[in-house]
Symmetry: C2
Subunit: 239 residues, 2 copies
DNA sequence: GTGCGTGATTGATAATTATCAAGTAGCAAG
DNA sequence: CTTGCTACTTGATAATTATCAATCACGCAC
């Protein structure tokens, strides 16, 4: 594995405080693989054999039941997916597929568990990572239960604008049908939600979204930090 | 604190492997309080000063935004709530109120964090508890996104029947409006969902539900273990 | 440049869900 | 027993969301 990829992975909060020897051991026993778009990396209900790290590309976490499917999360680099099942040798509750050509580091679950037992800093980082994952999921659940589809879209746009918007322009990084599924609606209703947001100063052309009146969008979206703030891994500093 | 309550708390997976001295230290610095029904124990957005343990009674975890409210979870004894925020000195994302007269043990957050750093078994139990909380929340999110209200009710009933039903009779342990909110619908629609389930062999009289045709209910509900199985703290044994 | 395939949009319709209002039922207090 | 209060049910209506179908738009390969 190229040292620049290892450096990338090392920067993840989960791995940052790891002893050098522990990190080296994890990396040496891992597989770095390149996958084209549309490849299934894991399937729900299968045993959790690896902890996956998205080094490059984009990965969709999704679930299915009774011929219905939904997108639960979209993992960008450098992100990990599904630590929880790995730690307790359980089955995955979600599947994962690549949304674009992706480079994935696969760390054997057994090695993760061993490192957890032997490196106290790693154990602590795992606690923090699990806590953050839990809080992120609670926020998603709150949004699903208490907001309409158009409101969820509005808050998603505000979030994207804050994190990576340029001059009020947001580029949707995935196909719209994936975004729709992630936000909990059909593709048809995503189109209609964008139409709703037109009267709040949002114009969309393909994957390019222009937020022309941020103030109007804020009034409609009513962001709530307990739902919309990113969930960081570190202790929040009092301000 | 009475030794029978301490024994109850000790039986929680989170505390079971704790060193005696660590457990004693936690208990001695805690508060055991009795609250009548309808009392707010914590409020979302407040700092997480205590880890709460429901020793007796019943507690509703709920959240609110923009004049809307939803029930996220109902905690029965002996259950804990909101470990994640306690560990990282963050704010609560949910509020909690008693649904009936309740006895609550409140363990200072600082003590929990200290115990986590000093007792390896506790750290490990915390990892497992967080992983289980995360998986439970993912399952709730899947249910909200992929099922209708009546389907969620049906699966809730099947779950209750399996855990505590007697001869096909399920007793709803909370007010119906709380159950409705927990399942993600209005009280009116809960009534209507019960009407829908009538043709699948379910009869309801107040808080008493009779499941007369379990086979018919199963066909309608289509339970999925990846959504409906209880999330245990221990490694699942292969069967 | 053209054709094909796939995702996106639009329109019509149906289903689910919420809101509002009135009536019913159950429980507790006097 | 009666009264009052609150939760629950029922009905009507509105809003949100999904489904189905047809058309449009865009990107890629030849």
């Amino acid at each position: 594995m190229r040292s620049e990829n290892a450096a990338k992975v090392r920067q993840l909060a989960l791995f940052r405080e790891l002893h050098d020897s522990t990190f080296r051991d994890l990396i040496e026993t891992s597989f770095l693989q390149r996958f084209p778009r549309g490849v299934n990396l894991i399937r729900e209900n299968e045993p959790a054999d690896f902890l996956h790290v998205v080094v490059e590309g984009l990965v969709e976490m999704y679930a299915a039941t009774d011929m219905r499917e939904t997108t639960l999360e979209i993992i960008a680099p450098v992100g990990i997916f599904i630590l929880a099942a790995v730690l307790n040798d359980q089955v995955y509750l979600q599947s994962a597929r690549t949304l674009e050509p992706s480079t994935i580091l696969m760390i054997p679950a057994e090695k993760v568990r061993h490192a957890m037992e032997t490196d106290q800093a790693f154990m602590r980082a795992i606690v923090m990572e699990l806590a953050a994952s839990y809080r992120r999921t609670i926020k998603d659940l709150k949004s699903q239960k208490m907001r309409s589809g158009a409101e969820r879209l509005a808050n998603w746009l505000l979030r994207m604008q804050r994190e990576r918007g340029r001059n009020g322009v947001v580029e949707i990084p995935v196909e719209k049908r994936v975004l729709a599924s992630h936000l909990g609606m059909t593709p048809e209703n995503l189109s209609r939600a964008f139409l709703t947001l037109r009267s709040h100063g949002v114009k969309v052309h393909g994957s390019r979204v222009e937020i022309e009146r941020l103030d109007a969008l804020l009034v409609f979206a009513k962001p709530d930090p307990l739902i919309d703030d990113p969930e960081n891994l570190f202790r929040q500093t009092s301000s």
